[in-house]
Amino acid sequence: MIGILLRAKALIWKNTLFRRSRRQQLGYLAFLALVGYMAVGIFRGITYLFTTLQGAAPEAASAFLTSVLAGLVTIALFWGLGSTLGLLYTASDLELLMSAPVPPLTVYALKLLESVQSLLLPSLLSLSCLVAYGVAIGAAWPYYLLALLGFVALLLLLSALSMLAVMLVVRFLPAQRTREIWLLLFAILTTVLWGAWTLTANNSRTNMMQQLVDHQGTVSQVGRALAWSPSGWLARAMTAWPGQDWAALGLNLGLLLVVAAVAIYLGYAVYQRAFYLGWSRLQEQASRRPSPAMESAGQAAGKRSPMARALSLLPIQVRGIVSKDWTELPRDMSRLSRLFLPIMMGVVYVYSTASSDLAKQLPGSAIWMSMALMPLVPFFMTLYQAVVSVAAEGRNMGLLALAPLSGLQVLWAKFWSSLGPTLLIAEVTTLVAALVLGATPGQVLLFALAVAWFTVGFVAIGIGIATLSPNFAAGAGNRRQVGVESTYLAMILSAAYWVVHLALITWLLLKAGPALTQSLLSQLVLTLLPDVVPYLDTAWPIVLLIAAEVLLWGAIAYLWRRGARWIERWEITALGQSA
């Protein structure tokens, strides 16, 4: 039975891969080539790291392997929880599997294998580390065979643990809600890890390899602490190879295999007892209880919320879409989770700039340099809000197409609905950063206005690009909502807008700003862009800036016009439904 199911899965995979247009196939091949190129580069880097470390400090190399494996396994486990939740409770094949005469053990085995498959990508880095360590110690082929065996056991263990955790959580919380909360937690964790890594990397001025060698005592301590974890067993087994300590190798690898088998068995036992309970809760969704005022046939159903009243300046149809989008946003954790990375990026880069050498050399410059980078927050938020705003409608684009709305009205509605949260977060982060850096009230006002202007431009660009390559089928899933070309075009145009307006603000301040500001900015320009200085007092800057403004706003107007026409010509076949 499992063979039949796996064959069906292989068939689905094959059809997904090959039964697509030539353009999609070429795009996919290009993507694979890029991934392959990056994978080779990463593997070479890891191999170089382990080889150098093994030469300088073998103890640090083995401890480093343990620590890296533990870190990677933790990330893979966290990743696995999300995908296992989908595989076990929200996958489209579940109803078929549950209604067909398929034994529970087969369904469990299939889901376990699917979970392993979903973990494969984030875990490949662990395998690369094991192989790189083998290369570093000059191991013979049996090492790689054992490393592969241990890697597979680790994957099975992780999958079984993910399934166990998911089944236990879903006993108490509906699957849909669990998935949303999970998405939010994953976004926060990833963002915090990225932020911590970037800050650490920025702060460490010395070579990373040298740091590892210098701090091999600490690394070894971490390695020892993690030794009694599944990833620790695998690392200990493999690091026993150079010393030919076969007993340690056998014991640790055996331990891993036994624990993996026990976890798989336990997973099945819990599956038999808990899965159906969670499955029955599948249809449950978080839903607000009706308030007493609403219970009597929706007496208050027609009342407007304060938010809707605040939007009363907008035309009624535009207001309808904006209030709909703003009502949905706080209820949709998958969309909310996308807001964390832009905020963290803003914080990290502002912090890095404020603590840079240049900021220390030129007192008072830190705040100006940091504020020049603050538009990073709306810049990235635009990619997650405005650029995907049309695609995010999913199949409900049909509803907008049915309504008596012009294309331009839809674009304006999407502009306002994206501008609201983007501007709010951009302003809050700017104000907090400005106050932390000790800005004067005048500077705070200037920065707030500047960020608002940047945000308006970025969102206008994002909305113009939103109709270039929307993927309406992406909706609830994790698939890309717009094509890569849309993302890159939005980034290029927004970066151009950023540079032009930053130059304009700087030029205006140099010409008409307070004396202290003029002096500080002059020194900054002299340090960062010395070639520009001779032209500052000529007509060139203003001529170039006006030309750039005309080009930029011309491009935005063209994109909007094209987008409006695209919406008016939109057909329901764009949703991929059959006639």
Binding site: Q285, G298, A301, P404, I572
Partner: protein, 253 residues
């Protein structure tokens, strides 16, 4: 109220609807029948502006679909087989959004929303997320949404699918009263009994071509048989279905 002239839709080499000529006057309840894949939904989608015809013209509610699409859209309501709904909005919020999109005046809007919710027994669910609704409730909130702006022409694709008998009865009564007030209703359904009992005229489409149109009495003259089911099967190849049934009977061990 609805007039089509040679309306055609092609998807590559496949002709989904071919040369459709229809005239449906105001205040008529028109039933549109056809086997799966015959072109019913494609026709409705063309008449509602969700698909552009490959050739031919259509007038809906007195406006030309190609040159005045917004006026057509403001005058019609369309309930798809799977209604377009926002799962993260409550029923009441969704109806308010639709009222905004169709520029329903503020005055009396709240009462209208409450009355529609009451009519379809959704009053106590008005403040719950649509994502938590059952299939039937989603169908009902979809019906509320297409009625909120008093459309002059109503397009319904399988409107009673998923409804309990009581709600199905409400739908029938609502449609009847709308037609009496002059609303044109264009309804596709596979439930022939409903079409036979409710519709003033019926059109049958097969393979993209309109093979019959008229009152039930007129259709009886075009094809042998006494019930709409017999007429439908005779016009759309019912003999094949009988052969399948025969095969299944013989195949049983």
């Amino acid at each position: 109220m609805i007039q089509t002239n040679g309306l055609t839709k092609q998807y590559g080499s496949l002709t989904a609807v071919q040369g459709l000529n229809l005239t449906i006057p105001a205040g008529e309840l028109f039933g549109f029948l056809g086997p799966n894949g015959a072109g019913k939904t494609t026709t409705i989608r063309m008449l509602t502006g969700l698909l552009k015809p490959t050739s031919g013209t259509a007038q809906v509610a007195g406006f030309d679909l190609a040159s005045e699409p917004l006026k057509v859209k403001a005058s019609i309501g369309y309930l798809a087989e799977n209604p377009f709904l926002y799962d993260k909005l409550t029923g009441a919020e969704f109806l308010r959004v639709i009222a905004d999109l169709y520029r329903v005046p503020e005055a009396g809007r709240a009462q209208r929303i409450a009355r529609l919710l009451d009519l379809f027994e959704l009053g106590n669910k008005a403040n719950e997320l649509i994502g938590s609704y059952s299939h039937g409730m989603k169908q009902k909130i979809g019906l509320c949404s297409v009625l909120i702006h008093n459309p002059r022409v109503l397009f319904l694709d399988e409107p009673t699918t998923g409804l309990d008998p009581r709600s199905a009865r409400v739908v029938k009564d609502v449609l009847r009263s709308l037609v009496e007030r002059g609303t044109t209703v264009f309804m596709s359904s596979h439930i022939l009994e409903i079409v036979e009992n409710m519709c003033d005229r019926v059109g049958i489409i097969n393979g993209g071509k309109l093979v019959a149109v008229g009152t039930i009495e007129e259709l009886r003259q075009q094809a042998p048989g006494s019930s709409l089911e017999d007429i439908f099967l005779a016009l759309t190849g019912g003999a094949e279905y009988r052969e399948v049934a025969e095969y299944l009977r013989e195949d049983r061990p």
